[in-house]
């Protein structure tokens, strides 16, 4: 049982080296793999932010929300409305003009992102405050209903969101550095939260709310806090997404329940409750969505053409999803984190097995 504990100093140095290493990798990638893959790599970071913020609620805190897409949508719309050039706004809003003061505001990407996060966090507070009074699957349904309400309101508010016409011409600010930079911030903040006294309280609640209450934890307040923090980063993710795609609309397939399902797939693959798992799940999802094009397009094996099967990639994702839930419920990481300690323990165990 001689597992050594890695000291804080070693940990810090290794992590710094790792972050710088990833930075160099990204730098190299942005110059060599071409714009298409750079876009996908950027998308990976955006998905990761959405997944981490989702896993904070669904995994770490153990309350099952189905309303994540609602907060992403709030963040996306807020940021987009703040950065859209005024001229573009007047052109886009041809059904009903944009209301004051949004019609005369244009600001930089960074403040817009922060405001998007704050507005999404506020939305999360408004949704969480009533919803958290119910538990379990009722909570899931209540948040799903709230997310749909958010989407429908966006769809019908022509003078604020341009309704079903959506927004276009959003400046393409999101690049690999913004996305991965925000991902780093997200990991640091939510990681720091998870491994603080508050994080312990959240994890305790996820196991047993009654026992946690008996240990003096204000369950409602902590759940709400986790929900609001999650909402903030979902909003950031939404803002990055809007400026990555440059156009957003309130269709169910773009910022609706489908998006929540996708993020759910990511965190189930990665392991509910693990930040590093969420990142791995998101990277896997973004990559596999491209890679699975192979099964959908016709294949040519030495002159024999196998017709592609449309819709196959989603079926594969769904199958993987169910198989994980049935046979491998911890996913890649379970609730653990990919820390140096984890890696060390892993290898120490391997070495031990060989002895």
């Amino acid at each position: 049982m001689g597992t050594k504990r890695i000291s804080f100093k070693t940990n810090f140095i290794l992590t710094t080296v790792f972050v710088i290493g990833v930075g160099f990798l990204l730098l190299a990638a942005s110059h060599s793999v071409g714009d298409y893959w750079v876009r996908i790599i950027t998308l990976m970071a955006i998905y990761s932010i959405m997944a981490i913020s989702y896993t904070l609620v669904n995994g770490v805190t153990g309350i099952f929300s189905l309303g994540h897409a609602g907060f992403i949508a709030v963040g996306a719309y807020t940021a987009a409305l703040l950065t859209l050039p005024i001229q573009q706004k007047t052109m886009s809003f041809f059904i009903a003009p944009l209301i004051w003061p949004l019609n005369s505001i244009q600001m930089g990407f960074f403040p817009a992102t922060i405001i998007a996060g704050l507005v999404a966090a506020f939305a999360a507070f408004l949704v969480g405050y009533p919803s958290l009074r119910v538990t379990g699957d009722y909570f899931a349904i209540a948040t799903l209903a709230f997310a749909e309400i958010i989407r429908i309101v966006i769809q019908n508010s022509y003078s604020i969101t341009n309704g079903s016409l959506g927004l276009k011409g959003i400046p393409p600010y999101t690049n690999i550095w913004w996305a991965w930079g925000w991902l780093l911030v997200t990991i640091i903040v939510i990681g720091s939260l998870k491994f603080s006294s508050y994080g312990r309280a959240l994890r305790a609640m996820s196991e047993d709310t009654v026992a946690a209450g008996a240990m003096g934890i204000n369950v409602f307040k902590h759940q709400l806090m986790s929900f609001v923090v999650s909402g903030f980063f979902a909003g950031i993710g939404g803002a990055l997404y809007a400026h990555w795609l440059t156009t957003i609309d309130p269709r169910p397939t773009s910022l609706g329940i489908m998006l929540t399902f996708f993020v759910l797939i990511m965190i189930v693959i990665g392991g509910l409750g693990s930040i590093s798992g969420a990142v791995l799940g998101a990277i896997f999802f973004a990559f596999a969505a491209q890679w699975l094009r192979i099964v959908e397009s016709p294949m040519n094996f030495f002159g024999i053409t196998i017709p592609g099967i449309p819709g196959m990639s989603m079926l594969i994702f769904a199958t993987v999803f169910i198989l994980i839930m049935l046979f491998w419920r911890r996913g890649i990481m379970g609730k653990d984190e990919l820390s140096w300690q984890y890696i060390y323990d892993h290898f120490a165990k391997k070495a031990g097995d060989q002895d």
Partner: protein, 369 residues
């Protein structure tokens, strides 16, 4: 063994390089799966007909690279990026749905590669863009055509307009119809629904209380078919008027007898093509697919030809030059009529009005811009 493999791979590489040198790559970004896969499939059929009729340009073979956007907006942007960056296409025929064209268009714009949408009718798609074009007319024009038709042909005084609040397409058409129809002295009442709705009895009960001369439903065929059925059940016998979203064989399949008397504005009618090339297209299409082409197929056909024509006039496969040539398209003879592209990338061309008669799409009239 290893050597043999190496040799084969080198040979393959050389073949592909040679082949690459001989061909002009054009990307096709359509939804082939997901919610609007049917549209992608129809349009692609038209593109393929065009390719089989005119397979070369500037003495080189035209190679189509089809990429599926899965009816998903994120993927719509990804495939355009993929086509430009990974497949090195010189131009893109693409994106059917307007929201997808908006997502893909911004990538094409950034990369200075011309993108020609066959069927995105939302005015925002080309707005402010230099490299995004379309082969179809835009929503305001279609709304205008419908208003003119309702007023002059149907002699309607009162219209009820059903808007699909979820579809920008429907909102656009409805608004421009209302603007023009009231300007002509008509009276308009509004009702609302959304895609995926299946029960319109509440709105219809309300609408029929207004005794309309025409019901304008600029939506998509599933809802139009259901609405027509329910309206007939509620006793409405008058005409319906719709946009090109009504045009699909399923309209008749779902709607049955109830959709007889549904007029719709469209780009094309296979029974009455009024250009020479249109006739050629219909013949070839029937030969290849054993059925009549849809308007989307005709638009796909025209998109391919417009692009080929632009490459010929540019006498180059340089994307910048192709875009420049596209912008100068004047009175080009396509299957859907004579097409002129204005400086905004939009087309100026005539619209047709068809009607469902005994379960068949029948030509009624042509309305010029």
């Amino acid at each position: 063994m290893k050597k043999a493999l190496l040799l084969i791979s080198i040979a393959l590489l050389m073949v592909s390089v040679m082949f690459g040198a001989e061909s002009v790559k054009i990307g096709v970004a359509f939804p082939m799966t997901g919610g609007i896969a049917a549209f992608g499939q129809m349009t692609l059929n038209g593109v393929k007909v065009a390719q089989s009729l005119y397979p070369t340009v500037l003495g080189k073979k035209i190679e189509l690279i089809v990429a599926d956007n899965r009816s998903d907006k994120t993927e719509a942007a990804n495939v355009v990026s993929r086509l430009i960056d990974y497949n090195h296409v010189v131009a893109i025929i693409g994106e059917i749905a307007s929201s997808h064209s908006l997502a893909g268009g911004s990538i094409a714009e950034k990369k200075h590669v011309p993108m020609l949408s066959p069927a995105s009718t939302n005015p925002l798609v080309t707005q402010g863009k230099h490299y995004v074009f379309r082969a179809c007319f835009i929503d305001p024009f279609q709304g205008h055509v419908a208003a003119v038709f309702a007023h002059n042909y149907l002699k309607a005084k009162t219209a009820v307009v059903f808007t699909d609040v979820v579809q920008d397409y429907s909102v656009g058409l409805a608004n421009f119809f209302i603007k023009d129809f009231t300007a002509m002295g008509g009276k308009v009442y509004r009702e609302f629904y959304q895609s995926g709705d299946q029960d319109f009895s509440a709105q219809l009960t309300d609408a029929l209380g207004k005794h309309p001369d025409v019901i304008y439903v600029p939506g998509y065929y599933p809802e139009i078919a259901l609405m027509a059925r329910q309206a007939r059940q509620l006793g409405y016998t008058g005409p319906f008027l719709a946009g090109d979203g009504a045009e699909a064989p399923e309209l008749v399949k779902i709607g049955g007898d109830a959709v007889n008397g549904v007029y719709y504005t469209s780009h094309f009618n296979a029974d009455a093509p009024f250009t020479k090339i249109g006739k050629e297209f219909v013949a070839k299409y029937k030969e290849m697919y054993k059925e009549s082409p849809s308007a989307l197929a005709a638009l796909g056909f025209d998109a391919y030809l417009l692009l080929r024509n632009a490459i010929q006039r540019a006498n180059s496969t340089n994307p910048e030059k192709i875009a420049e040539a596209l912008r100068n398209t004047k009175h080009f003879e396509g299957a859907t009529g004579y097409i002129t592209i204005d400086k905004y990338g939009n087309t100026i061309k005539s619209a047709v009005v068809n009607v469902v008669k005994n379960g068949k799409f029948t030509y009624v009239t042509t309305i010029n811009p």
